[in-house]
């Protein structure tokens, strides 16, 4: 489904550069439930942003369903993301001034879908996530778990092939977290490919594959034990290699 080849991402920091992703090579197959783990600053969220096309200042190759996203224009990537990707955030990112129903409808409002069809999709989703009774409430009237439930509902309403979740249970207590993770498992079983970033081993247990990151390097992958050895050596190396052979994406 996705192939990342030599993905680099850095930020300018004073006179130098700070690297947040270093030569990341990763293949994600349809139906996988991947957990990305690692200490703070390892590059987990940066990787998620690259996958979500929220960031387009990286170097390297990004293939999405055989399409070369790295050669696409910004607008084409945004279209690709709109059709295929759903995002769940740690702090829910619901819009305060919109009701539950309106929040869920938001991704559809940016698609060319007739109003009646949108209403029907929203109604189905509210029903599926069992939040019909809360459809007219505002986010501030919901608990954290309920808010994240709405966040997930919003992320999947357009039936994305890939669901990206950035520490989706980080602000929830364990019962609520479990509920959300069960929901992810269910979605995965229904065919949605999921990539989640988490610090929680319990959450990782829901996944089918775990990758480890450190200092921007991909240092472990349960599906490919060899990656760990190669990249660990690079992490410990003092030599900084510039990504001269990578494509520049704008």
């Amino acid at each position: 489904m996705i192939q990342l080849k030599n993905i680099d991402r850095s930020y300018k920091a004073g006179a130098g550069q700070t690297w947040v992703l270093r030569r990341v090579n990763l293949e994600i197959r349809p139906g996988e439930f991947i957990t990305v783990m690692g200490p703070s600053g390892a590059g987990k969220s940066s990787l998620l942003n690259v996958l979500a096309f929220l960031d387009d200042q990286w170097l390297g190759e990004y293939w999405f369903r055989e399409q070369a996203a790295h050669t696409m224009k910004r607008k084409e990537r945004a279209e690709l993301a709109k059709k295929n990707i759903g995002m769940v955030f740690q702090s829910y990112h619901l819009l305060d001034d919109l009701t539950v129903q309106e929040n869920i409808d938001l991704p559809l409002s940016y698609k060319d879908i007739p109003r009646s069809e949108r209403q029907s999709l929203v109604a189905d989703t509210l029903d599926r996530f069992r939040i019909v009774a809360k459809k007219d409430l505002y986010p501030s009237q919901l608990s954290g778990g309920q808010q994240q439930l709405v966040g997930v509902a919003r992320a999947v309403i357009h039936k994305p092939a890939l669901l990206l979740a950035d520490e989706p249970t980080g602000n929830l207590h364990s019962d609520q977290a479990r509920e959300i993770m069960e929901l992810f498992r269910e979605l995965n079983q229904q065919g949605t490919t999921i990539v989640q970033v988490t610090h929680s081993e319990a959450n990782a247990a829901y996944g089918t594959r775990t990758i480890q990151m450190r200092d921007g390097w991909l240092v472990g992958d349960t599906a490919n034990p060899n990656i760990g050895a190669a990249n660990s050596a690079a992490t410990n190396s003092t030599v900084t290699t510039e990504p001269s052979d990578a494509a520049v994406n704008r």
């Binding site: 929220l54 960031d55 995002m87």
Partner: protein, 812 residues
């Protein structure tokens, strides 16, 4: 006191730390205040405190009217003046004046024309005008034959006599007669119309009691009210004298039939005339601009208050009183207002001469603008209003913020931010509504001006040059002498090179001269309740119609054979003919001015030409008399150029008149196009100023909208990031922000339109054949406003569209 200085120091430091905000606020206020002071100065100098007239509220103009002849406000006759002057319990003094021009011949120099007035001896008393040198007139000097004294204006004394104090007692040759200088007025007094000198009127005492002169109104009458007497009481007194006169004349008198009467009106109202309403409209407009400026600054301060919220919260937590917070918010406004007033006064000082340049001559020539107490008082009031309007919203917000919540949230309280945003939005909606109101008003007035400009004058003003000449009565004593002069002068004019034709008349269209008179029609009896026929009267030379291109409809024009001793003839225009001979041919009919005057045969009918206004309803027709049969003492010359610029004919016109009498100077030299154009000055003055104020209002509203939308983008960064993360394209985000701007604009637009309808009565009275809901004007205004709104929103919208969702969400 110490805390005030401490707060002041802190405020100044804060303002210096934000030079962009400070400069914008001061400049915005200065523009608003400057425009207000400039317009108020003109109103003060024209309507409230005219220069050289102490206690102007006590000075009244005494006027006459003929209700049945559509003459609502005209001069008075000598007997009218005598009636008014008899009201000793009502007036402290009453005086009359007749505008006069004097040919002044200094020894060895070419003659020149001085503008002045022949006045009754009480003239200066009415205005409380005291001479700087010498004295004013004595009653015994205001007699026929004794009236050879002159009082010089300060300006004339300085300009023509170098300010020589020895001028008193000197003899001047005016209109070829000797006048002795008895006084020099102070610099503040130059009534009427920047007069250069005054001479005694010297009417025979009998004329004041001669009832035959009752309806010969040629004197401008002014009076000073006794303390405690109001204008209404003065009018009531004159109404009483009117009814006494009508009663004395008996049943079915002309006075009664014509609806004749006398009344009083404040002098300032008389001087402002039709400009009174436009001037106050301009003041209202310019005050609206200041309101917008204040709303803008209040909006900017609200935005700044957001940045200072945490600081204020800490202060409140530490126990600062709300009154001190309010004081600190108002102190910032006070500092800004003081700077705005200072710079505004400089702007006003620069703008006032420009205003006077644009103002109609009838207004500007009487104006002398001095910065006195009324203007300073106005400045203080305006400044205080600015402090209030700019400071009250931020002060309210500061003292009502949820400080505890703010501290807990680390300085960011969305609830209070939304409250501020709503307040700022309301301010911007108000700004747009006011700008819309002004734009529509200006647009409608522009449309009206265009309508008026398209009206026909009834003659062809292009290629016509005109001038005036005054014949000294001491030289041109008889009708024969004056007629001979005009005949020779017309010949000279016609023979000038570059001149196709030339003519002479007692008054020309649009030169604000000329009169009207009643007449009798032979064979027609006047109904007891009718004032009888009445029309504008002009005395013209034979080539007048040809020169002005006024078409002859029937009969003939005057010829050189229509002389003093030949049969009296007249020509009427179609308007007069339609009114008094609706079903018959006026040719061959006879008219006269009463039993003792000869009958004049109507020999021609011509097209109607307008007198002084393009837009006025021309129900009053003209009748023309040959200049040879009624030669006036003052006349206008007009020539039609054969192709060259008519202004190039000035010197040859002077030579032509000089060839007949070298002592006669020409004055009032203007092309006829200039004269017609000047009749639109008042309307154009209003259009220009209102358009300028509307433009300023639009600019300020756009700045305000830009501020609100920018602030809104800042506040919605998170929301926009989420929307983009969920699939919103950059165009969607731009649309969202532009939509917000358009939503505010639409609300303001609707309110502005409602305001236009509410102000409909005032606006309609200034419009000519233009509906309040003129579609073209509304469409243009709405398009202009929409374009400005889109422009003001575009930059913040672009900024919003360029947000990086990843960065936005990470910062959250």
């Amino acid at each position: 006191m110490e805390t005030i200085f401490q707060d002041l120091r802190y405020t100044l430091r804060q303002l210096f730390k934000s030079p962009g905000f400070t400069a914008t606020a001061i400049l915005t206020l200065a523009l608003g205040i400057g425009a207000n002071v400039a317009v108020f100065s003109v109103i003060n100098a024209s309507l409230l405190n005219p220069s050289g007239v102490p206690h102007p509220d006590r000075v009244v103009a005494l006027r006459a009217k003929y209700a049945m002849a559509d003459l609502g406000n005209i001069n008075m006759s000598p007997p009218d003046f005598a009636d008014a002057a008899a009201g000793k319990n009502v007036f402290t003094s009453v005086a009359v004046m007749k505008k006069s021009a004097f040919n002044y011949s200094a020894s060895g120099s070419t003659p020149e024309r001085l503008s002045g007035a022949s006045v009754s001896w009480q003239w200066f008393d009415v205005f409380w005008a005291r001479p700087q040198l010498g004295r004013v007139f004595r009653s015994e000097e205001d007699q026929p034959g004794s009236n050879h004294e002159v009082v010089l204006s300060y300006a004339a004394w300085k300009r023509r006599f170098g300010g020589d104090p020895g001028v008193i007692g000197r003899t001047l040759l005016l209109n070829e007669e000797s006048y002795q200088v008895v006084g020099v007025m102070g610099p503040e007094f130059n009534w009427p119309n920047q007069a250069e000198l005054w001479v005694p009127l010297g009417l025979p005492a009998a004329s004041y009691s001669d009832n035959q002169l009752r309806h010969n109104e040629y004197l401008f009458c002014v009076a000073r009210l006794r303390p405690g007497v109001t204008n209404d009481q003065a009018s009531a007194y004159l109404a009483l004298r009117t009814s006494q006169q009508i009663a004395a004349e008996g049943q079915n008198s002309y006075s009664q039939a014509a609806g004749w009467g006398m009344f009083s009106m404040p002098l300032v109202d008389f001087v402002a005339g039709d400009l009174r309403k436009p001037l106050f409209l301009l003041l209202a407009a310019v005050m609206s601009v200041l309101l917008i400026a204040c709303a803008n600054i209040a909006g900017l301060q609200l935005a700044r208050a957001s940045g200072k919220q945490r600081e204020v919260s800490i202060q409140i937590a530490l126990g600062v009183s709300r009154s001190r917070l309010i004081r600190s918010a108002l102190l910032e406004s006070l500092v800004l207002a003081c700077a705005g007033v200072g710079l505004g006064l400089v702007i006003a000082q620069t703008t006032i001469p420009l205003l006077l340049l644009l103002a109609p001559a009838s207004l500007s020539r009487n104006l002398a603008i001095h910065v006195g107490w009324p203007i300073l008082g106005f400045v203080v009031i305006v400044g205080a209003a600015c402090v209030f309007f700019c400071g009250v919203a931020p002060a309210w917000q500061m003292t009502h913020s949820r400080w505890f919540q703010t501290l807990q949230e680390g300085g960011r309280s969305e609830t209070s931010s939304r409250g501020r945003q709503r307040l700022r939005s309301a301010l911007v909606v108000t700004e747009i509504a006011v700008a819309m109101l002004l734009l529509v008003g200006a647009g409608l007035l522009v449309r009206s001006l265009q309508q008026v400009q398209q009206l026909e004058t009834g003659f062809n003003p292009r290629g016509l040059m005109s001038a005036a000449v005054s014949l000294p009565p001491s030289i041109y004593k008889t009708d024969e002498q004056r007629a001979a002069f005009f005949t020779s002068a017309e010949e000279q004019l016609k023979n000038l090179s570059g001149v196709r034709s030339g003519a002479i008349a007692d008054a020309l269209p649009f030169d604000n001269n000329g009169g009207s008179a009643s007449f009798s029609i032979k064979g027609q009896t006047v109904a007891p309740d009718s004032p009888g026929p009445h029309g504008n009267i002009r005395v013209i030379s034979p080539d007048y119609f040809a020169t002005l291109s006024i078409s002859l409809v029937r009969g003939r024009v005057f010829s050189p054979q229509d002389r003093l001793k030949t049969d009296r003839v007249a020509i009427v225009d179609e308007t007069l003919a339609r009114r008094y001979w609706p079903n018959e041919d006026p040719l061959g009919q006879h008219i006269n001015f009463g039993d003792r005057t000869p009958w004049m045969e109507i020999v021609g009918v011509v097209k109607h030409a307008k007198t002084s206004s393009l837009e006025a309803d021309n129900t009053e027709g003209y009748y023309y008399l040959p200049i040879a049969q009624s030669p006036p003492g003052m006349a206008s010359l007009v020539v039609r150029s054969s192709g060259a610029d008519p202004e190039s004919l000035v010197s040859s016109m002077s030579r032509a008149v000089g060839a007949v009498d070298a002592s006669l100077p020409l004055y009032d030299l203007k092309t006829m196009e200039q004269r017609v154009d000047e009749s639109l000055t008042g309307r154009r003055f209003l259009v220009l100023l209102l358009s300028a104020f509307a433009g300023l209002a639009l600019l300020l509203a756009a700045v305000g909208l830009y501020g609100v939308i920018s602030y809104s983008v800042r506040m919605r960064t998170r929301e926009l990031g989420i929307r983009m993360a969920l699939g919103a394209q950059r165009t969607d985000v731009m649309g969202l922000i532009l939509g917000k701007g358009m939503q505010l604009a639409a609300t303001g637009l609707v309110l502005g339109l409602a305001g236009t309808l509410a102000a409909g009565k005032i606006l309609s009275s200034l419009l000519y054949q233009t509906s309040l809901l003129n579609p073209l004007t509304l469409l243009t205004t709405i398009s202009l406003l929409t374009a400005t709104v889109l422009l003001a929103c575009y930059v913040p919208a672009r900024r919003a569209a360029a947000l990086e969702p990843m960065r936005t969400l990470r910062e959250e």
